[in-house]
Symmetry: C2
């Protein structure tokens, strides 16, 4: 891979902890595992909207999918449940390893930005701000500006075009293989953090991540080591 | 909606029963519910490949995802497991309501074709052939010809272009909302069969199916009724 100058961070699950929403799904469905089912649909349907040339924001989609998943499980979703899930999406805490990892990378001289499927939150705090992480980042991009979701290439190119750098100088940091595949297909390099519920995908026709690590400090160590050699 | 002339059937789960694979997942993972998790990833990653401009066939993707899901659950996947899943994908039985529904629609004079994400199976039988359903269909399309997956619009247009009909004369029959959204965005009309594990998606910016029914004979009844009035 090229020497990365700009580290582009996915936010949901990579920096902030989606498992924090599990107790809410336990309360609504009597089964915390439904959180992962709903989250999987959220990824699938964001891609569906983009492939279909349509657009609706990530939180609105997440709320509609809650009703769909309720229907599938025979659970009636109340307006309070919908509000609770929106609130939960806005207020996930940072993973404990994130701040030390960001501090090490910032110290090492990398430029740090975010690129998230979540919308901005006019008049309120974004999930990144709520988690206390916003101050580490030079720029915070959301896919809204492209009216398309990851892993569409034009979404990644929001970053390189806005910063005036070539895609090859950008390195995606994500815990989702679909995100590393998309970033690499747009000319970025990529590192995969294997957070709980995530693992590499061995399929010959799809790009493998350039680096794989169990948490952000470990990935930071690999990036800093490469820069030194 | 326009008067549909050509009914375009999704195959996996709409005509043939994916739940038949659950005992295999129970055997491999000790938990039949992992089948739905793997299937959700199969849809997500087929869309990821298409959004990224890449191509690999549905069965190869399904086998790689089995290893990924094994990694997530801490279960080592053997070459026998991979073979068993490939075999299971090729040999799912028809849902019991399918043959009476197809017979009624054929009798009523509709043109019937299929459009599936599954590849052809040179030298062997396709899932549709194995399930004994192939004889009902004038043409059987797979997405391979477009080297892209549903719900990309060019995949649906394989059907209208090949048959020399306008998209508006085509009606997609599917149990997957992402498939009805894609078909409708390509100019088809669409009917949703709410098979187990599937339900409508109430999101204002996405098209709703023109018809919704619990099984194929019920959907056939609605289509035949419309034709009469």
């Amino acid at each position: 891979m090229s020497e990365p100058q700009v580290l582009v961070f996915d936010v949901n699950e990579t920096l902030i902890d989606v498992e924090s929403m599990s107790p809410l799904f336990e309360k609504i469905f009597g089964d915390a595992r439904v959180m992962r089912e709903w989250l999987g649909h959220l990824f699938t349907y964001s891609m569906t909207a983009t492939l279909s040339g349509l657009w609706t924001d990530f939180f609105t989609l997440g709320q509609g999918l809650l009703t769909m998943v309720g229907d599938i499980h025979g659970v009636e979703i109340t307006p309070e449940d919908v509000d609770d899930v929106k609130e939960a999406m806005l207020t996930m805490p940072a993973h404990p390893d994130v701040e030390p990892g960001l501090a090490a990378l910032s110290e090492a001289g990398f430029r740090l930005v975010t690129l998230t499927n979540s919308p901005s939150n006019p008049g309120g705090r974004t999930p990144l701000e709520h988690a206390g992480l916003a101050r580490y980042f030079e720029r915070r991009f959301t896919v809204e500006a492209a009216r398309a979701y990851k892993p569409a290439p034009q979404v990644y190119h929001l970053v390189d075009q806005s910063l005036g750098v070539p895609p090859s100088s950008c390195f995606m940091v994500t815990c989702h293989v679909w995100d590393s595949v998309g970033a690499q297909s747009a000319g970025f390099s990529a590192g995969l953090i294997t957070r709980r519920g995530n693992a590499p995908l061995p399929v010959a026709a799809l790009p493998r991540p350039d680096l794989v690590a169990p948490d952000l400090p470990a990935l930071a160590g690999l990036l800093i080591e490469r820069r030194r050699t």
